[in-house]
Amino acid sequence: MSETTLLQVEELKQYFPIGKNRVVKAVDGISFSIRRGETFGLVGESGCGKSTTGRSVLGITKPTSGRILYDGEDIASFTKAQRMKFKKSAQMIFQDPYACLDPRMTISSIIKEGMEVHFRYSKKEADDRVRDLLDKVGLTEDYASRFPHELSGGQRQRIGIARALAVEPEFIVCDEPIAALDVSIQAQVVNLLMKVQEERGHAYLFISHDLSMVRHISDYIGVMYLGSLVETAVRDEIYSHPLHPYTKALFSAIPKPDPDMNWAKTRIHLEGEVPSPINTPEGCKFCARCPHATEQCRRETPQLRDMGAGHRVACHRIEEL
């Protein structure tokens, strides 16, 4: 890949054993890459393995198989020093703003934690930096001395963001960073994320359900379904020409802030049972709910195929549709 590639994921698989002989195939062989300064939006059904992907990419969970190259180096073979460097440059904003903050630390200590590891700030510098960060995420310095349980969900999420930004990373996995925020703060946070990206050339893996926000911020978009990537493309391409049946259904379900629109009528209703990631069958994973499924779909697992201009889709019947 080009030298600007920051992160490359190759055939990543993450299985969780549950009980006897059964595994949850949370992530089942996905590949993608993110270039410097670029945002890769990851969308998909809840439970399809987005967070798991994000976690594997940062080495929080050890992948079952597959390789993750960061800056051309396999993160599995990092030396200690490299790993520290990686931890500084790759950060995560956690999905659950409640669980990810230590209930016994004040906000300022939470934010300072990462700084203490990677920088040598004096106390004053650190305090200034905390104030700065709080300001960046739209909170006042008063919050520095509060405890997480005293904050609302959105406020906590912003603390999570501030914590990640504190170590000045160049790559951030944003696991639904805006889900818990109200629109005005969503806008603030997205603006913030975009601003730091512009300033410092951050790369993001942006996981979200808010498709309009994903559209707003991402350069590339990947659509996941049950542990696999079913479609990836440049943002505008995918929004204007979604090819995979699931992607189509997904995009049609985006609610519009328009009280006159009868959204329930326009969206594509998916029939059928949502299959579970436990011991998924062979074949296309979407076939159970796909209106176009054929025998072939049930038998063979479709591979991602380039449909031109970097638009890749995993569907057997893509040409026909």
Binding site: I60, M92, A99, C100, P103, R104, E113, D127
Partner: protein
């Protein structure tokens, strides 16, 4: 609202240049500072602290206050408490007030220092074990099992051979040698519960060293149990000290301790109950103050109980 009184000039858009708005300057604190502040506000805990300080004060100056030597025998044997002998005298005619406080020196030091040492060791060991997990955990836990299974009596007899003097140091060593094991298991159990917490993952992602994760995140979150454990160790050690004298590691006459005073008064407890009462009372009061203080500390350390 008196809309009538509103002047026109008040309806002039000025916008929000001072977006900061009003705010209350909350004091900048850290977890520990805040905890300390809340602890100070807890009257019961402060009372406990004062009580403890009084006890400590008396263990230092008590023997002198009484006007009697704690080791000097006299003809006034088995006296009931009176103006002359505030706590009465023992079967050798020694003044119990002086003896109780002299004994308190040993007991307080052993109880408190012993409890603190074992708790610290136990915390460190237990958290390392739980945090490391896997094989390390397994090996570390087996070691705990082995250490706590070897008969204590044999260990202390051997120890008493190796340590010539039987000063407080040796007693502490004897108490601590296995005393940390239960704490280690307790802490490990607590930390296993926390190991999957998202905030620990977050800290790991930040590259926070394991040591810091343990001390910053895990231990404070196990503190409430650790505090209870600590308060229970104190009377435990006070009694254990008198057991150690069984193998020759205890305090030597004429020095004494609360445990020894209580044990010594056992035989005639129905006749001279006060000989037992005072040392037992002191153990109880020490325990009480530590419990109250521990409760206060526990509340102070739990930001959710912040009021």
């Amino acid at each position: 609202m008196e809309n009538k009184n509103l002047k026109d000039e008040q309806f002039r858009i000025v916008g929000c240049d001072d977006v900061e708005g009003e705010r209350l300057g909350r004091p900048q604190t850290t977890y520990w500072k805040d905890a300390w502040r809340r602890l100070r506000q807890n009257h019961l805990a402060m009372f406990a602290m004062v009580l403890l300080l009084v006890i400590i004060f008396l263990t230092i100056f008590g023997p002198a206050i009484s006007g009697y030597s704690y080791e000097k025998m006299s003809a006034d044997m088995n006296q009931t408490p009176s103006l002359k002998h505030w706590f009465g005298t023992d079967s050798l005619g020694r003044d119990l007030f002086a003896r109780v406080w002299a004994g308190g020196r040993v007991s307080i030091i052993i109880g408190v220092v012993g409890a603190v040492i074992t708790t610290v060791i136990g915390c460190i060991y237990g958290s390392i074990s739980a945090f490391a997990g896997g094989r390390t955990d397994s090996v570390m836990m087996r070691i705990v099992e082995i250490i706590s299974s070897i008969p204590y009596l044999i260990v202390v007899i051997l120890l008493s051979l190796m340590l010539d003097d039987s000063g407080i140091g040796s007693i502490l060593l004897a108490l601590c040698i296995v005393g940390w094991c239960p704490t280690a298991r307790l802490v490990r159990g607590q930390i296993l519960q926390l190991a999957n917490a998202e905030y620990v993952t977050a800290a790991k992602t930040l590259g926070v060293s394991n040591w810091k994760i343990i001390t910053r995140h895990m231990l404070p979150n196990t503190m409430s149990v650790v505090i209870v454990n600590l308060t229970f160790r104190i009377p435990g050690y006070i009694f254990s000290e008198s057991f150690l004298s069984y193998v020759g590691l205890g305090i030597k006459t004429p020095d004494t301790s609360w445990g020894m005073l209580a044990a010594g008064a056992q035989g005639s407890m129905f006749f001279y109950p006060y000989q037992l009462l005072f040392p037992a009372l002191m153990i109880g009061l020490t325990m009480l103050s530590f419990t109250l203080f521990g409760d206060g500390l526990r509340d102070a350390l739990d930001p959710k109980l912040r009021r």
